[in-house]
């Protein structure tokens, strides 16, 4: 059975007031994310991978211990983008609270240090990639960056927040000014409630 995409969690123009334009979402979700899914379905048609239960499973299998097979790129980008939409909210932004805020204080030295590290991760990921906040194998929060389609899941960590820094994520809105995109994401877009939920799920075992 071919895989399908969950719908965007909000309307295409829902993040406009928060600095991510409708046109960006039209292309980012409607073209890029959709193309990854369609290409993945085409790649796995009639193959063993098609019988796996989720795109996440296809992603993990095709990572192939660091020698990814051709399906990895599309599978991982399907997963990464869904996670990205769900990391943002029309009522997003501001500062975290609750357990994740405590963990940020304890593991990362506080919100300001988190912001500095997360912004640096996004800014210094050369070429295409992602910035992440994850729960690592020791149950601690860590900030990281990955190139292209790679993500912390294939390295055994559990992401709770991601930011896309491929140029298609920001070029229509701020052109070459990636740092402006990053600042806006951190200040105005992060869905901290969702991040808290993910943190609790990741640390409840």
């Amino acid at each position: 059975m071919p895989f399908t995409l969950p719908p965007l969690p909000y309307a295409l123009d829902a993040l406009k007031a928060k600095g991510m334009s409708k046109t960006t979402l039209e292309f980012h979700f409607g073209k890029h994310h959709t193309a990854y899914l369609n290409n993945l379905n085409g790649q796995i048609a009639g193959k063993e991978l098609e019988s796996l239960g989720s795109v996440e499973e296809v992603m993990l299998k095709s990572w192939n211990g660091g020698q990814p097979t051709p399906e990895f790129n599309n599978a991982a980008q399907v997963v990464n983008h869904t996670f990205f939409w769900e990391s943002m909210s029309p009522s997003g932004g501001g500062k975290p609270s609750g357990k994740v805020a405590e963990a940020i204080d304890k593991d990362l030295g506080g919100y300001d240090k988190f912001v500095e590290a997360f912004k640096a991760a996004g800014a210094t990921q050369f070429g295409s990639g992602w910035a992440w906040l994850s729960v690592n194998g020791q149950g601690k929060l860590e900030v990281s960056k990955t190139p292209n389609a790679e993500n912390p899941w294939v390295h055994g960590a559990t992401p709770i927040l991601t930011m896309d820094v491929w140029e298609h994520a920001y070029y229509l809105d701020v052109q070459n000014r990636r740092p402006d995109f990053i600042s806006n994401f951190v200040s105005n877009l992060i869905d901290w409630q969702r991040v808290e939920q993910r943190y609790l799920a990741a640390t409840s075992k």
């Binding site: 292309f27 070429g127 295409s128 491929w166 140029e167 052109q175």
Partner: protein, 293 residues
């Protein structure tokens, strides 16, 4: 470092050259006689200047190396608008003035106290050392990324290779833009036809996921080869790329090269790029590379 204002193409936008730009936009052979008249009026003695005027820009003055700025960014060899409607003006401005400039600035910062890596501003020599012990570990990544970026785009570093910007030019008949010279012969001989070659090149360029470049290179065996590289790697980086060689033709497939006009449609961008490929220049690089092997 921005080019001196007097040499910047936009400083020369007086009435007659604006008319020239308008004529260029017609992209019609009927414009040629009028262009010839304008050239006669505007031309200085040298043929090189004449060619650059046809390309709509003054000759860039060589910018000498200095301790603070061993590498520099010359202006484009044509107006930002020269490749319209195939490559849009805003993209040319951002791509040259922001993206390429950033690579030059970061490269200068990385090699600031290492004059053995300056090569009189010829980045093609530095790029050959990427990934080798000749580049200190603490600046290895910065050199790979920023010397790579400066080299891949460059206009004129005094070296033999002058790449992305010079491998595009406004064309009289863009929709019938064909290879010329010995390079054309080699393409037909090796790929059976220009269309067959284009298809292979397009497939490779589209398949390069994320940021990167698609190249036509010539190897030591004197055969042409289509290859792609990630980020700002290039075929002179023998220590880093699986298929080193000498560039003959190159296209930038970073999203910033096409996103404003073509959005996600990289193939649409490539279709446009074929209309402005500077085959005369590619043929010169091919001949020079053959002579060196």
């Amino acid at each position: 470092m921005p080019p001196p204002a007097a040499l910047h193409p936009t400083a020369c936008q007086h009435q007659s050259t604006l008319a020239l730009v308008d004529l260029m936009r017609l992209q019609s052979l009927r414009a040629l006689p009028t262009l010839a008249v304008w050239l006669a009026v505007l031309c200085a003695a040298s043929p090189a200047r004449a060619r650059r005027l046809l390309d709509d820009a003054p000759a860039p003055a060589p910018v000498p190396s200095s301790p603070a700025q061993p590498f520099s960014l010359p202006p484009l060899p044509y107006y930002y608008s020269a490749l319209e409607p195939w490559i849009d003006t805003e993209t040319m401005q951002l791509h040259h003035d922001k993206h390429h400039q950033a690579a030059v600035d970061k490269l200068n910062a990385a090699v600031a106290n290492r004059s053995s890596l300056w090569f009189g501003g010829d980045v093609s020599q530095l790029v050959r050392l990427a990934g080798t012990d000749a580049v200190p570990a603490e600046i290895a990544e910065a050199v790979r990324n920023n010397a790579g970026g400066h080299y891949n785009h460059q206009v004129d570093a005094g070296g033999a290779e002058q790449l992305f910007w010079t491998l595009m030019a406004p064309k009289d008949d863009p929709e019938d833009n064909q290879p010329v010279g010995e390079l054309a012969d080699a393409i037909w001989a090796q790929y059976d036809s220009f269309d067959a070659f284009k298809q292979l090149f397009n497939e490779a360029a589209v398949a390069r996921s994320g940021c990167g470049w698609a190249w036509l290179i010539i190897g030591a065996d004197k055969r042409l080869s289509i290859t792609t590289t990630p980020n700002q790697d290039g075929p002179l980086m023998a220590a880093l790329v699986p298929e080193p060689g000498t560039p003959v033709l190159v296209v930038d497939v970073h999203e910033h090269a096409y996103y404003l006009l073509h959005r996600n449609r990289r193939q649409g961008y490539l279709d446009s790029w074929w209309n402005v490929t500077n085959w005369e220049q590619a043929n010169e690089y091919y001949a020079a590379a053959l002579a060196n092997y």
